[in-house]
Symmetry: C2
């Protein structure tokens, strides 16, 4: 710590002792988490949504999340909420983007730091903790939690839960924006169903999906969405599901070969119910 004195003749130690936060208004900051997985048969993407039991957006579905506490990083807040609400630990978690539109929450000034979590288990018993996590550190009370099918095509994105008879749908359109001298493209969404997601959560979801798709081919993200032991047909089914296109078996296997090793055992592929060689990821 410097011993230099400032214009008031104070050392840093003296300055900090008397420091009072200024009069600037401060925003609340939450961490919202997009928890993404697949159905057991690797045919559908699954996303975890919670149903709000408080205003605003009462009874609408939202991403899980909660306030960041003063003694933790936003990453730790996301980890904590994920653990509380799903019991999942050691999950892949990545910061996506920070949403700061001052009008994004009608109550007050709330920024949110969005995280993407990838999980390999989307069974319902993972949802135990969600509804009892309670208000005390959530950005709103929760009355229900469920996995939704996430269906994306060229013109729309849908969130479907058949048991609850919920289908939330947005039409999406690619638009060009300018940043400095260059242009970039981004998806813009419009509600296309009676029900809508709370807040700006549809934007968070779109940003996260884009990032996931962009990185999926060039990184090892996939191994967070499948069990420790898996077959190559299943792994390929996962890639085809996330990327939204068919892959050629030979090329896929050549690409994946250096990242995996055969265990010697055999197991059933869940995507086809056929026996196949068992592999594991080599970090």
């Amino acid at each position: 710590m410097t011993q230099k004195k400032d214009k008031n003749g104070l050392t840093e130690k003296e300055f900090l002792k008397d420091y009072k936060a200024g009069d600037y208004e401060r925003p609340s900051v939450t961490a919202d988490i997009l928890v993404l997985g697949t159905s057991a048969d690797l045919r559908t993407l699954k996303i975890l949504l919670v149903k709000r039991d408080e205003h605003p957006y009462l009874e609408q579905w939202a991403l899980p999340g909660g306030f960041v506490r003063k003694d933790e990083t936003a990453y730790q807040a996301a980890e904590r909420k994920l653990s509380q609400e799903t019991g999942l630990e050691g999950v892949y978690l990545d910061q996506i983007y920070t949403f700061t539109n001052p009008a994004r929450d009608p109550r007050t000034w709330v920024m949110t730091i969005a995280y993407l979590a990838l999980v390999s288990d989307t069974s319902d018993d993972v949802l135990h903790g969600v509804t009892c996590a309670g208000d005390y550190d959530s950005d709103g009370g929760v009355q229900d939690a469920a996995w939704f099918d996430l269906v994306i095509d060229a013109e729309s994105i849908s969130f479907i839960n058949a048991e609850r008879n919920v289908e939330i749908r947005y039409s999406i359109e690619n638009k060009r924006f300018k940043n400095g001298r260059i242009y970039y493209e981004n998806w813009v969404s419009k509600p296309a169903s009676k029900e809508e997601l709370a807040f700006d959560h549809i934007e968070i979801i779109i940003e996260s999906i884009l990032k996931l798709k962009a990185e999926f081919e060039h990184t090892d993200l996939s191994f967070n969405m499948i069990g420790e032991k898996f077959t190559l047909p299943d792994l390929q089914a996962l890639y085809e599901l996330v990327l939204g296109k068919k892959l050629y078996k030979t090329n896929f296997r050549a690409m994946i070969a250096p990242k995996v090793e055969a265990t010697g055992a055999k197991m059933k592929s869940v995507c086809s119910n056929k026996m196949s060689a068992e592999y594991r990821y080599i970090g």
Copy 2:
């Protein structure tokens, strides 16, 4: 807006009317900006740093930045600071990462949303506004502002300003971390000079440089760092500078060809002082 009533019998309108922000403590939030450009001869990367005249980190160099106001997005805050401090408008500006370590500012709880700005003009007269932008919305008073040479090699990152006789240096090392099942690599820095940058700004810089390098080859970012009209030798020099490696002329031109068009005129390449065909970017 929903007419549903919550557990207290309130509609959303009634709820919002009486809403009081909770007792959660709230962080201050700043936008810090890494302004990056090149020397006029395209031989050196330049970064804009400001010298603090307040505790903490009194008289240390830092990234320019300031508090986000309640009536603007963090992006708008970054734009506003950039305009105030450099007079630059319409500059490329991209959110990089949000830093939330509660101990990153010794005064109080301050998160910062880091932005990367790319500019094509790093002359000194761009710096007029910096020192008089004042404290009122900066995250600390500023007594000086200057362009620093940014020199990066395999083991270190240095910030050099010859006129002021300042050389700030960090040794960097690539380490592996685990996230879920997969590993990722990241640079970890250690001070290697007497002077250091304020706060965690070295981390912001490292993250931004990594993102810039990763995207530079696959996007049109480069055109934000060079004038509207340019020669291909100059554009190649820019790529070689940012990527830190030599490129083959033929391959570079093949890659860049669909993005540019010849104006028909000729101009001098600044990197070699020779005549060369003049090109412009086609968005």
